[in-house]
């Protein structure tokens, strides 16, 4: 009977010691003892009787399932996911507003530049009036671009349950790509207004396009390598 008692003790060891559980444990043991006696009366030897009893008890997982005891860790990630998705939805609204704001600042920069030029005829002031709002817009694009990238990575992780690959380097490339065109626009406006180099200055845009294209090709190559 010791083997049975040990098995039952082990079976219940990971369960919370509520009065119900303790009562069930005692009840199971008293009934198994009776089953043991009955098996011996049927002519089984002790080892056979213990074998039959142990085989019929069931496992700790079954017991937990029957009692409705669930393992905690399974629930937590779900709540986590839910919180993240809510946060992600809220961020997407912020992101849209920020991008619209950035674009508005860029348009404002051109108007402010034209107005300043007309009123004061001061080139330095005009450039400041143009570059100031554009610098703020670039800062907004970069800041929200990085956060958007982070959210997208996590979102993909949750949706596909895939581990993120090269998070750091791919996001760095994204940040650089995001930066290149606003900076190019700033530079183009600067040389345009300051030195009137609108004509050969536009070449900066095709150069940037080739540069970003190259970066994307490198990123794509790295991904396929993994």
């Amino acid at each position: 009977m010791n083997a049975i008692q040990n098995y039952i003790n082990a079976l219940f060891s990971s369960l919370p010691k509520t009065p119900n559980v303790l009562r069930m444990q005692a009840e199971m043991l008293e009934n198994l003892e009776e089953k043991y006696q009955a098996l011996l009366r049927e002519g089984k030897n002790e080892d056979e009787a213990i074998g039959i009893i142990l085989a019929g008890i069931g496992t700790v997982d079954e017991l937990k399932a029957e009692l409705g005891i669930r393992e905690e860790p399974h629930d937590i990630p779900k709540d986590d996911h839910h919180a993240f998705l809510t946060e992600h939805a809220a961020f997407q609204k912020q992101f849209a507003i920020a991008i619209a704001g950035g674009v508005a600042l860029c348009i404002l920069a051109v108007i402010a530049g034209a107005v300043t030029d007309e009123l004061f005829h001061n080139d330095i002031l005009t450039v400041i009036m143009i570059l100031g709002p554009i610098a703020i817009a670039v800062a907004i694009f970069v800041f929200f671009g990085i956060r958007e990238d982070w959210y997208e990575q996590r979102y993909k992780e949750i949706c596909n349950d895939l581990p993120t690959g090269d998070t750091k380097s791919s996001s760095l490339i994204t940040v650089v790509s995001n930066l290149v065109f606003p900076l190019a626009a700033m530079f183009y406006l600067f040389i345009g207004f300051q030195y009137n180099l609108w004509h050969p200055g536009w070449i900066i845009f095709p150069i940037c396009a080739i540069f970003v294209g190259g970066l994307e090709a490198i990123e794509a190559y790295r991904k396929t390598k993994q």
Binding site: E27, N31, L32, E62
Partner: protein
Amino acid sequence: MLSSDIMRGYNDTLILSQLLERDSYGYEISHNIQQLSGGVYTMRETTLYAAFNRLEQLGYVTSYQGTKTFGRKRTYYTITDAGRQFYREKCEEWHVLQHVMQSFIKEEFI
């Protein structure tokens, strides 16, 4: 042998059926179920005692301490009116299930 997966959902019915005529206790119920099933189904102890616990909480059975010939205590169970009602409902459910399943059993393909 019937697996516990197949019998899930009907274990309560089996247990309550053993209490309809008189009070009983764990080993006796488990032994009777095995005998009545012709040895095809043995209810696991974990299933049986967890079911007692659940049925008692639902108010379908009540328990009391009895005594045995050589003095060891025994927990007996009595079916309540709610338990009998539940048993009838499960029996009706079984008739429906049996009827439905029969529609899917195509004798010519067996």
